[in-house]
């Protein structure tokens, strides 16, 4: 009983609601790696930015398909969830009508997966930025 209370107190102490705890994940979603950079983790942020943006752009260059938020079957919804993780890259791609997909190219499927994974990796990066902001990680 006492251990549970102590653990809960420690968790509450490590996770205060701060402005950076909201701003870092938000800006990290929008621009990959930016959540780390505004917390002065420059190299980590730069590497995350380069990795995620490159994967997304390679996906576009391979004629991959970008999923839209128009419902459809469960796989399309999951694809959308992955794609939207890329933040501004997704918004820009949808605005420019990129990512129509090309059935004629076999590698277009790789491109589709590259963009989904880029989004998912950005979700991981956002979570990491949040943990740094709340003091759970250095």
């Amino acid at each position: 009983m006492a251990n549970t209370t102590t653990e809960k107190a420690k968790m509450a102490e490590a996770a205060p609601l701060t402005a950076m705890g909201v701003i870092a994940p938000a800006i990290g979603w929008l621009i990959p790696g930016a959540g780390h950079m505004i917390q002065k983790r420059w190299i980590r942020g730069a590497l995350l930015f380069i990795s995620i943006v490159t994967m997304f752009l390679l996906g576009l260059a391979m004629q991959g398909r970008i999923y839209r938020a128009n419902g459809g079957d469960i796989l399309e919804i999951l694809g959308f969830v992955g794609d939207v993780g890329a933040g501004a890259l997704y918004i820009l791609s949808v605005a420019q009508d990129w990512g129509q997909g090309a059935i004629a190219f076999a590698t277009a499927d790789y491109g589709t997966k590259f963009m989904i994974v880029a989004g998912l990796l950005n979700f991981i990066a956002v979570a990491d930025a949040y943990h740094i902001a709340i003091g759970k990680k250095k």
Partner: protein
């Protein structure tokens, strides 16, 4: 501009960038980040070879 990668090249590029992100987000200090990133890269590529040979065995 269209880029065409064969399957192994796509897997290699995928493993490279995913390993960088995993290394950074799953460890605390630089040394551990690099080690874990290299470990993830090895696992990704090893998995590609294992899966490839497994599919060859299944096809036989």
């Amino acid at each position: 501009m269209t880029i065409t990668l064969n399957h192994f090249s796509a897997a290699l590029v995928f493993a490279f960038f995913a390993s960088i992100v995993f290394g950074i987000t799953h460890r605390d200090n630089t040394r551990e980040m690099v080690r874990y990133g290299l470990y993830c890269f090895a696992m990704f590529l090893g998995g590609v070879f294992v899966a490839g040979w497994a599919m060859w065995v299944l096809r036989r």
